[in-house]
């Protein structure tokens, strides 16, 4: 029982990272109806920026905050420059564009920072010690990551539900034409969505480098697949679903790896195929996911 609780706790920590990347994907999907395949590479890129900042002598949390700002601005710029021209075009075109961004950003990370293996951050953001709760070791880093993620969700909730800006963003996503008529600057709202997503992705990137070192250009590839599985499980359009889905995937992967030692399916290195199986199963059984509403199209 203690082992079970232990695995759940550490699964929640990695799951919260998947959840934040899934949240970034969901934010863009809600506002533009497109999945951003470059979200993971964008996160890696911004994490490298954070590494460079710290390398120049900044403290971790200062670099953290600065990276969020840079990521936000970068996300807004990407939307305005690259995505804007094909806005409202076929889904296929936009998806190909984000694949282009995926390849470009991955190449740039490799080019600028090389595939050299780095430890990031050099000094850990959270204490390395752990609390002992009834025999279950809860590391302060895991708790910290979970808390920051939850803080992000609460912050986003407040932004979307209790500010005029959040209302405008939701309106622009729901009905662009009507929003434009009442004075919402729809284009900028979509760009804001990209900026927010990039910033949240940066958090996921920096925490991935801390929780599952080292920092290297391909770091977010598997995390992106887990985040996709989380987002699809949660319903792709639901932020709450992304969080629940991310935590579920994190705990599930951990439990499967642990209890596989009794079943011997050798699933330890099969995490990506398991995530793929989750995606395919959800699409077959309940395409709307746990929290999504089935889409009904009027013809």
């Amino acid at each position: 029982m203690v082992e079970f609780a232990q695995q759940v706790v550490s699964g929640l920590a990695s799951g919260s990272i998947y959840a934040s990347l899934a949240l970034a994907i969901v934010i863009i999907y809600r506002s533009t109806g497109v999945v951003n395949f470059a979200q993971g590479e964008l996160a890696t890129f911004t994490t490298f920026i954070a590494w460079t900042l710290i390398d120049h002598g900044l403290g971790y949390w200062l670099a953290f905050a600065l990276t969020l700002v840079i990521a936000f601005v970068g996300g807004v710029a990407l939307e305005r420059i690259v995505v804007r021209p094909v806005e409202g075009g076929p889904v296929l075109t936009v998806v190909i564009l984000t694949i282009g961004l995926f390849i470009l950003l991955g190449g740039l990370s490799n080019w600028i920072w090389t595939a050299e293996v780095r430890s990031f951050p050099p000094n850990r953001p959270f204490p390395t010690s752990a609390w002992d709760i009834g025999g279950v070791a809860v590391s302060k880093q895991d708790a910290g990551i979970l808390l920051v993620t939850l803080g992000l969700v609460v912050g986003l909730y407040l932004l979307f539900q209790h500010t005029k800006l959040g209302l405008a963003i939701r309106a622009a996503a729901l009905n662009p034409t009507a929003s434009r008529l009442v004075g919402v600057r729809v284009g900028w709202m979509l760009a804001l969505g990209w900026g927010l997503a990039a910033a949240i992705g940066a958090v996921a990137g920096m925490f991935t480098a801390a929780a599952a070192p080292p920092l290297e250009p391909n770091m977010m590839r598997p995390v992106l697949i887990y985040a996709f599985a989380a987002a699809v499980l949660g319903g792709l359009a639901s932020p709450v679903g992304a969080i629940v889905g991310g935590l579920t995937i994190g705990v599930m992967l951990n439990l499967i790896a642990t209890y596989d030692t009794h079943v011997h399916l050798e699933l330890d290195r099969m995490r990506l195929p398991i995530a793929l199986a989750v995606i395919l199963t959800v699409l077959l059984v309940r395409p709307a996911g746990l929290f999504g509403r089935a889409v009904v199209r009027r013809v």
Binding site: F37, T93, S109, W111, R221
Partner: protein
Amino acid sequence: MSRLTLARGGATVLALSVAIVAIFLAPRWDQVGDIKGAQMGVYFIAILGLNIVTGYTGQISLGHGAFMAIGGYTTAILVAEHGVRDLWTIPIAGLVAGAAGFLVGIPALRLSGLYLALATFGLAVAMPDLLSWDKLESVTKGGQAIQLFGSSDLTGKGFEDVSILGQTVTFTRAVYYLTWAVALVLLVVAWLLLRGPPGRAFRAVRDSEVAAASSGVNIAAYKTFAFAISAAYAGIAGSLLVIAVAFADPQSFPAKLSLTLLVGAVIAGLGSLWGALAGAAFIQFLPDAAVHISKAQGVPDAVYGAALILIVLLLPTGVAGGLRRALAPLTSRLYTRS
């Protein structure tokens, strides 16, 4: 002469000239050139397949590298373990990969194209791990490479010379001819398929699902069919790749391969068959050219990505579409009587 006859004649002339150029250029190359030419043929076939599903049916697949892996492994296993002659494994590889495409397509194709992109992307990323799964060790050697070198069922066992049609050529040259012969057959098959009723249905699905359904096109069936055919093309490409290098391992089919193929298809111009030639040449020779910019890792990827974005933004119909538009003032005279 009707426009259709002209178009038909044009396509035939094009296919023939490709064949002639390929046969006459070949003797000038060394063995590395042969292998690069053969690889380009492999990309050509895979891009052709990707074009059927993405260009003509409007369904995006980010996982064609995974179907190449399935085809390649089919060939490797049949030749190495079961002593099947390599040439016979090519159609079998196509069938197996096609069946796999059918299975993957069923859940995703009933939904929006976005879900297919997600599922196939997951497949591309997960495929190397799947091939390395210990439980599949009896089938796939659990991630260890399958060597075909020296197998008596391989054309040119130990890379020695091969005789075709009474002529003796090097193994690499034989592989080159084999790849492009298959490529030409598949080009003609694709052309016949796409100009007939299936092609019309594919395009109808792409342009408006509602209109297609109203006209009695079974959307799910045609999407699944297109996807299976397309996966079969990729499987044949993978099979030829394995025959060319006499070797198969999970790292030969990384997730990047799938994305590279998409780059090729978009560069070529989605919805253009002969454009696949330009796309294949681009992804085969770009890494060689990118070395001149900088030898740093990641440079080819940065160029691929930038090229893909620029093409989508500036030349949405790809190289083929751009050329077609540029030449339109010349060729339109052939079609219109004035």
